[in-house]
C-alpha cells in the first residue's frame, strides 16, 4: 500500500471515531450520572458558593501540585476525590483544614497564599462535588472510609543512619549494572559485537 494512504488511514479512522466516543461520553445515556457542578453548593456566612467557582479556586491554589483528584496530579498528598467524605461531610472542617494546612506533613497554610474563608468554602464545594462523581468505583480500599478525623498518623523523617540496608542494596544493584556495561564495552572493543 502507498505510504501516504497508510498514514492517512492510521490517522483518520481513530480520529473520526473519537467524535462519537466523545459525544457518548457526555451527552447520552451512556454518560455517568455525575452531578451538575452549578447545583452542588456550600453555604458560608449566609452566602452560597457552588462547585464551578470551587473548581477555579482549586486550580488557582494549585492543590493538584501535591494531591491527586480522580487519581490525577501529584503523589505527595492523599487523593482528594473522597476527601469530603473522609472529613465527615463537613464543609467547615475542610475549609478550616485548608486555611491552616498541615505544615509538619508538608501542606502549607493556604492563608499564606491569600486564601480567605470564602475561597475555602468555594473549594469545599468543589470537593463535595468531586465526592459525588461516578468514577466507576475508583478509589477502593478500606482506609478511604476512615470517618471524621484527618489522618492520625505522625509523619517521620528519613535519616541516613536508617537506610544502611538500602545503601547496600543500591551498591549491589549498581555493581551489577556497571558489570554489564563494562562487559559490553569490552566485548565491543574486542570487536565481538
Amino acid at each position: 500500500m502507498n505510504n501516504t494512504r497508510l498514514v492517512l488511514i492510521g490517522l483518520l479512522i481513530p480520529a473520526i471515531l473519537m467524535i462519537p466516543y466523545s459525544i457518548f461520553s457526555f451527552y447520552t445515556d451512556f454518560a455517568n450520572k455525575n452531578p451538575d457542578p452549578a447545583l452542588v453548593t456550600v453555604d458560608f456566612n449566609g452566602i452560597t458558593f457552588n462547585a464551578i467557582e470551587g473548581k477555579k479556586t482549586f486550580e488557582q491554589y494549585q492543590c493538584m501540585g501535591c494531591h491527586t483528584i480522580v487519581g490525577n496530579g501529584a503523589y505527595f498528598g492523599p487523593d482528594l476525590t473522597n476527601a469530603y467524605e473522609r472529613a465527615g461531610k463537613s464543609d467547615a472542617a475542610l475549609s478550616g483544614l485548608m486555611l491552616v494546612g498541615l505544615p509538619s506533613k508538608g501542606m502549607p497554610p493556604m492563608k499564606d497564599r491569600g486564601m480567605d474563608p470564602e475561597d475555602a468554602a468555594r473549594t469545599a464545594a468543589f470537593l463535595k462535588y468531586a465526592n459525588m462523581l461516578d468514577t466507576n468505583g475508583w478509589p477502593n480500599s478500606g482506609s478511604w472510609e476512615r470517618n471524621g478525623s484527618i489522618d492520625g498518623i505522625q509523619e517521620k523523617r528519613l535519616y541516613p543512619s536508617e537506610i544502611w540496608q538500602v545503601i547496600l542494596g543500591i551498591i549491589f544493584f549498581n555493581v551489577i549494572i556497571f558489570g554489564v556495561i563494562l562487559a559490553y564495552e569490552r566485548r565491543k572493543q574486542e570487536g565481538r559485537l
Binding site: L17, M18, G73, V166
Partner: protein
C-alpha cells in the same frame, strides 16, 4: 553548510534545552528531598511549586529541542533556507521570556491569580501564559509552513512526519485551554494535551527524527526506511489516538472506555517495538562507517527507552484491572520517569549531538566525555525507575489492597525515596558532564570566528 545560514541560529536552542534539563533535574532533586523531610521546605518553597516548575521547565526544553531540531533538519530536505530566519531568533527569546515569566509567576503568584497560575498538572502555567505561548508557537507553524510551501524539491517522508509532529504538538496545546465547568470534561480535554503529546505527536517527532538520522548516517535504501516509517506512524496513530481511553477509566467517564482504552493502549507497544527493530535492521545492513558515534548512541538509547519506558512500563499498568489499583501511585511516577527521559531526552540530545558539532565545525570532537555522561544518565535513571517501581508495588499492596492509610505508607516508603534522591544525584552528574561538553563545543566556534 554555508548554503543554509539560518541553521547556525539553532545552536542556542540546543544549549538552552540542555541547560533547562539540568534545572529540571535540580528541581526534581529538591522534590525528592521534600518527600523525605516533609515539613521542612527547601528555601521555604512548598512541594507543589517545585513540582509544577519541574514539569513546566520540561515542556519548555522539549519544545526548544524539537523546534531547534526541526529548524536544523528542515533546510536540506526542502532545498532552501528557512523563510523567515529572524523569526528563529525571535521565537527563541520569546520562549525564554515566557519561561522566566512562568517561573516568576509560580514562585510569587501561586494562589494569587488564576490567570498567572492555574495549577492543573502539566498546564500549571496560568491561562495568560497558555494563550501567549500558543500565539508565539503559531508563528513557528507559520514559518515552517511558509518554508515548506516554497520548497525547492520534494520532501522526504521522515521530515514530513517530523513537521507533522511538531505542528500537531503546538495545535494540541489548544484543547487544554478551553474552560469547562465540569471536572470530568476538564480532565477529559486536559488529557488531549498531555496524552496526544507524549503518545502521538511527540512520538511522530521521534519516529521522524530517528528515521531521518538513520537515513543520513547509514547507506540503507531510502524506500526501506520510508516504508517502515509509514507503518510505524500508522500504528502509532491507530493505537495512540483511541489509547487515550486509558486516562478515562476513573475520571467520571463511561465504562466503555475501560474496554476501548485497555484494548488500544495494550497495542501501543507494537509500533515502538517496530521502531527498535527497524533501527536494528538498518544498522546491521549498513556498511558505511559512522563517525558521529555519540549521536548514534543517543538515538539507540531513545528507541530502547521508548520501547521499555513507554511500551513495557506503560503496558504493565495500562489494563483497567491493574490500573484500578495502580492509578495515582508511585507506579505511575516510575513509568513517567522511564518513558519521558528515556525517549525524549535522548532524542533531543541525539539531535543536539548532530547539530552542535556540525555547526561548530567540530566533527572530530572527543567523545569520551559525552559517552561517560550518557552512561551516568542511564545508570541514574535506572536507579530512579527501580526505586520508584519498588515503592509503587509496596504502595499498591499496602494502601490499595490492605487499606493502610496514606501517611503510614509514605513513612514506609522513605528508604526508597532516599534511593531515588541518590539516583537523582547520579543523573545530575551525567547531565552536568554533557552540559560541560556542549558548552565547550559551543565555544570552539566562537574562538575560531
Amino acid at each position: 553548510m554555508n548554503e543554509y545560514p539560518s541553521r547556525a541560529k539553532t545552536r542556542k536552542y540546543f544549549l538552552a534545552a540542555v541547560l533547562l534539563f539540568v534545572l529540571q533535574l535540580i528541581l526534581g532533586i529538591f522534590l525528592s528531598i521534600e518527600f523525605m523531610f516533609r515539613g521542612e521546605y527547601l528555601f521555604s518553597i512548598p512541594f507543589d511549586i517545585y513540582k509544577s516548575l519541574h514539569l513546566n521547565v520540561m515542556v519548555l526544553w522539549l519544545l526548544l529541542g524539537f523546534i531547534g531540531g526541526l529548524y536544523y533538519l528542515l533546510p536540506p530536505e526542502v532545498g532552501r533556507d528557512i523563510k523567515y530566519p529572524r523569526l528563529i531568533d525571535f521565537q527563541f527569546w520569546f520562549l525564554m521570556i515566557a519561561g522566566i515569566g512562568i517561573i516568576i509567576s509560580e514562585l510569587f503568584f501561586t494562589g494569587r491569580n488564576w490567570w498567572l497560575v492555574e495549577g492543573r498538572e502539566y498546564l500549571e502555567a496560568g491561562r495568560a501564559w497558555d494563550i501567549l505561548l500558543t500565539l508565539g508557537l503559531l508563528t513557528v507553524v507559520f514559518n515552517v509552513g511558509m518554508t515548506i510551501r516554497e520548497r525547492k524539491k520534494e520532501m522526504s517522508s521522515p521530515i514530513l512526519v517530523l513537521a507533522m509532529g511538531a505542528v500537531g504538538s503546538i495545535l494540541m496545546y489548544v484543547p487544554g485551554e478551553i474552560w469547562f465547568n465540569s471536572l470530568v470534561a476538564a480532565e477529559y480535554f486536559r488529557w488531549w494535551v498531555v496524552h496526544y503529546w507524549v503518545e502521538a505527536t511527540f512520538e511522530l517527532i521521534a519516529a521522524g527524527a530517528i528515521a531521518l538520522i538513520l537515513l543520513s548516517i547509514t547507506d540503507v535504501r531510502r524506500e526501506i526506511i520510508e516504508k517502515y516509517l509509514a507503518i510505524e506512524v500508522a500504528l502509532i496513530l491507530l493505537t495512540g489516538i483511541i489509547g487515550q481511553g486509558h486516562h478515562y477509566y476513573w475520571i467520571g467517564t463511561p465504562q466503555f472506555w475501560l474496554f476501548l482504552g485497555g484494548l488500544f493502549s495494550a497495542l501501543e507497544p507494537v509500533p515502538l517495538f517496530l521502531m527498535v527493530w527497524s533501527a536494528y535492521k538498518d544498522l546491521k545492513e549498513n556498511s558505511k562507517p559512522i563517525p558521529n558515534n555519540i549521536a548514534l548512541y543517543m538515538i539507540i538509547a531513545a528507541s530502547l527507552g521508548n520501547l521499555f519506558g513507554a511500551g513495557v512500563w506503560g503496558f504493565i499498568h495500562t489494563l483497567p484491572q491493574i490500573n484500578f489499583f495502580t492509578h495515582g501511585t508511585q507506579i505511575t511516577a516510575s513509568h513517567a520517569h522511564f518513558a519521558t527521559p528515556g525517549t525524549y531526552l535522548f532524542l533531543v540530545l541525539g539531535m543536539a549531538y548532530i547539530a552542535v558539532p556540525e555547526l561548530s565545525g567540530m566533527m572530530n570532537f572527543h567523545q569520551f566525555r559525552a559517552k561517560t555522561g550518557l552512561w551516568l544518565l542511564v545508570i541514574g535513571f535506572l536507579n530512579m525507575i527501580t526505586a520508584l517501581v519498588i515503592a509503587g508495588v509496596v504502595q499498591v499492596y499496602l494502601q490499595r489492597l490492605q487499606g493502610v492509610s496514606f501517611m503510614e505508607v509514605q513513612n514506609i516508603l522513605l528508604p526508597f525515596y532516599g534511593w531515588r534522591t541518590i539516583a537523582g544525584l547520579i543523573t545530575l552528574a551525567g547531565a552536568l558532564l554533557i552540559t560541560y561538553d556542549f558548552i565547550i563545543l559551543y565555544h570552539k566556534r566562537k574562538l575560531e570566528e
